[in-house]
């Protein structure tokens, strides 16, 4: 047995070698490392739910849409409600990445990556619901304008066609945006990874070295994409709202729909970012990067958009009353006091009631309360779409054809599956790619350091 080599006094006194890696890298890359039992438990639970939903969908494709609760006159049910809900969730990512980028709101740097990834996953989830809703999924490609032997083209005057273009553009642009932002961060991970991760990151980083030429092109691209994504994000939910507003259904046919939907989308998107980021921050110890200041700002956004949404609710009722159109008035009266009163009041209490607590700074910085409020907002926003779609359709012009729709087990399973699918994608993302934009966090840190040191020189 040889004794361990003794350290000389000089060696033990020498200051520690300065680590090659920076603290920011270590803190933010550790999110991707290892995984606790809890993580696998959660991933397993989401996988199980997704499987249940997938089997339900397969069964529905086999049996037909009859297993959904569609009854005359309601033929847009939970699937469309959930589609609109997820498209709405998808808006926060682009808002944070693009609009706050253009406004130079630097606080976005810590949360933009997670919000962008949520955008991509939410659009993917939403896109699936179009497939689930159409029933004969094998004919879904008919919606695309492609040359065919029938010589027919699609009807570009239909809002559903606009929607196809809006959603597919939004999905593509958010993936491009996410990827461009990821390139420098993947390079950071590449320089520190081993084995299969090294291969993956080397391929995805495209040989990024952070030369001034690369950064210059990168900054320009991000700027231009922000400029393109800003009108896009406002257009997407407008187009979704026109799926309804272009019809003559009472409660749908309103010009306020586009801004109303966009505000609601931002409202629910921010709430979802909070609902996801609060546990992520806690579990991975990211308190230093995603601070109470970020949550405070998010809370203010939620409060603002809650007021816009609340204002839209009031306007809807006002317009119904002021129009003097009886079906419109009846439709709105029955929203609040008809068979769907529960959804309507849930919507109002969750979207306009609870968020008022955010007036208080204490609430905005008290994380558990914020989590509860954001969860309620998510619930409320799902019910908002439920109220608009279901109560609108079930109480159309002729009382003789009124009907009541109730969701079935199949729809609820697939609804649960959509949340699980979203959560599953996000859980996998966290372990494969950096969930906080490392280079943007550094940008701020180095800038602060530079200001301090150049002041000292």
């Amino acid at each position: 047995m040889t004794p361990p080599p003794a350290l000389s006094v000089a060696e033990s006194l020498r200051p520690e070698q300065e680590p090659v890696d920076s603290k920011i890298n270590r803190d933010l890359l550790q999110v991707m490392e290892g995984a606790s039992a809890g993580y696998f438990l959660l991933l397993g639970a989401t996988l199980l739910t997704v499987t249940a939903a997938a089997l339900t969908w397969i069964y529905q494709i086999y049996i037909g849409l009859g297993i959904a609760g569609y009854t005359h006159p309601v033929f847009w049910g939970v699937y469309i409600v959930t589609f609109v809900f997820w498209v709405g969730i998808a808006h926060a990512g682009t808002l944070i990445s693009a609009i706050l980028y253009l406004f130079r709101a630097k606080w976005r740097n810590a949360i933009n990556r997670s919000a962008e990834s949520m955008t991509v996953f939410a659009v993917m989830t939403a896109g699936m619901f179009l497939g689930i809703h159409v029933g004969r999924i094998w004919k879904a490609y008919f919606i695309l304008p492609y040359p065919n032997q029938r010589g027919l083209w699609v009807n570009f005057r239909s809002p559903l066609e606009w929607d196809t273009f809006a959603i597919s553009t939004y999905a593509t642009v958010s993936i491009v945006f996410l990827f461009i932002g990821l390139i420098p961060d993947i390079a950071i991970a590449r320089d520190r990874a081993r084995s299969w991760r090294k291969l993956l990151y080397t391929a995805l980083a495209l040989g990024w070295q952070g030369t001034s030429q690369q950064w210059k092109a990168h900054s320009r691209s991000v700027l231009h994409l922000s400029g393109l994504a800003t009108p896009l994000v406002l257009s997407v939910h407008s187009v979704v709202s026109w799926d309804f507003a272009m019809s003559i259904v009472p409660g749908w046919h309103a010009t306020i729909f586009a801004p109303y939907f966009v505000a609601g989308a931002i409202f629910s998107g921010f709430a979802m970012v909070l609902t996801v980021m609060i546990p992520v921050r806690r579990i991975f110890g990211l308190e230093e990067y995603i601070t109470d200041y970020h949550f405070d700002n998010m809370g203010k956004f939620i409060l603002l958009t809650s007021w816009i949404v609340g204002y839209a609710y009031v306007t809807e009722y006002f317009v119904a009353w002021y129009s003097g159109v009886e079906p419109e008035q009846t439709s709105f009266w029955l929203r609040a006091f008809g068979p769907y009163w529960f959804s309507t009041w849930t919507m109002i209490i969750c979207n306009v009631g609870f968020p008022q607590l955010l007036w208080f700074r204490k609430v905005r910085t008290h994380v558990p309360t914020l989590f509860v409020i954001s969860t309620f907002v998510n619930i409320g926003m799902w019910f908002e779409r439920y109220v608009i779609i279901i109560s609108g359709l079930s109480r159309e012009y002729d009382p003789a054809v009124w009907g009541v729709y109730t969701p079935t087990w199949a729809e609820l399973t697939i609804l649960a599956g959509s949340f699980a699918f979203f959560a599953m994608l996000f859980l996998l993302f966290m372990k494969v790619l950096p969930v906080v934009a490392i280079y943007e966090v550094k940008e701020l840190a180095i800038h602060e350091r530079a200001v301090a040191s150049e002041g000292a020189h």
């Binding site: 090659v20 890696d21 920076s22 920011i24 890298n25 304008p145 010589g151 083209w153 009807n155 570009f156 005057r157 606009w162 273009f165 809006a166 597919s168 553009t169 491009v176 945006f177 461009i180 390139i183 420098p184 390079a187 950071i188 590449r190 320089d191 520190r192 080397t202 495209l206 040989g207 990024w208 070295q209 952070g210 030369t211 001034s212 030429q213 690369q214 950064w215 210059k216 092109a217 990168h218 900054s219 320009r220 231009h224 393109l228 994504a229 009108p231 896009l232 257009s235 280079y439 943007e440 550094k442 940008e443 840190a445 180095i446 800038h447 350091r449 530079a450 040191s453 150049e454 020189h457």
Partner: protein
């Protein structure tokens, strides 16, 4: 030809040193940075980035494609729907708008790849002057120079607060 690699902590001195070297006639310069800094963008290449051309051309192609496609398709097999004109411009504006964004964004991505020179190098290999510290929090200024200029460049880098200057094998 030897290359000298100066390591810096902040972007300001890197920009100053690079400008100085450029003025003295050194052309083989490369800056490495861990994050984007406006002061470094224009030091080596003062021209505005060509990415904007890509975005512009992409967007214009998109808007033309959007209108042309919808109008042509509606006329190719005319179907009267809701008494609307075959070329219903207001509604086709939505398609035109979406395709402007779509083509613009894809062209921007292409612009990033072409202007930024990505994918760069051969798989898994970096420039000799690259260091993993540049993907941590340090900056690098790599100067290719003749043997006899090494001392001058070394002094200049140190004068600009390079905390370390290394000779990278040329």
């Amino acid at each position: 030809m030897p290359s000298l690699q100066g390591i810096f902590d902040t972007p300001g001195p890197v920009a100053a040193a690079a400008k100085r070297l450029k003025n003295r006639g050194f052309t083989d310069l490369e800056i490495y940075a861990p994050a984007p800094f406006p002061e470094l963008d224009d030091v080596l290449d003062p021209k505005p980035s060509r990415v904007r051309l890509f975005t512009l051309i992409g967007g214009l192609t998109g808007v033309v494609t959007g209108y042309a496609m919808t109008i042509w398709m509606s006329i190719d097999w005319p179907v009267m729907i809701g008494g609307k004109p075959f070329a219903a411009i207001p509604t086709y504006t939505i398609i035109g708008f979406e395709l402007t964004i779509l083509f613009g964004a894809l062209a921007t991505l292409l612009g990033l790849l072409l202007v930024g020179g990505l994918p760069y190098g051969s798989f898994g290999h970096h420039d000799k002057g690259y260091d993993v510290r540049f993907s941590a929090e340090e900056f690098g200024l790599v100067v290719g120079c003749r043997e006899r200029d090494v001392a001058e460049v070394d002094a200049l880098l140190r004068a600009h607060h390079a905390k370390e200057v290394n000779l990278v094998e040329g």
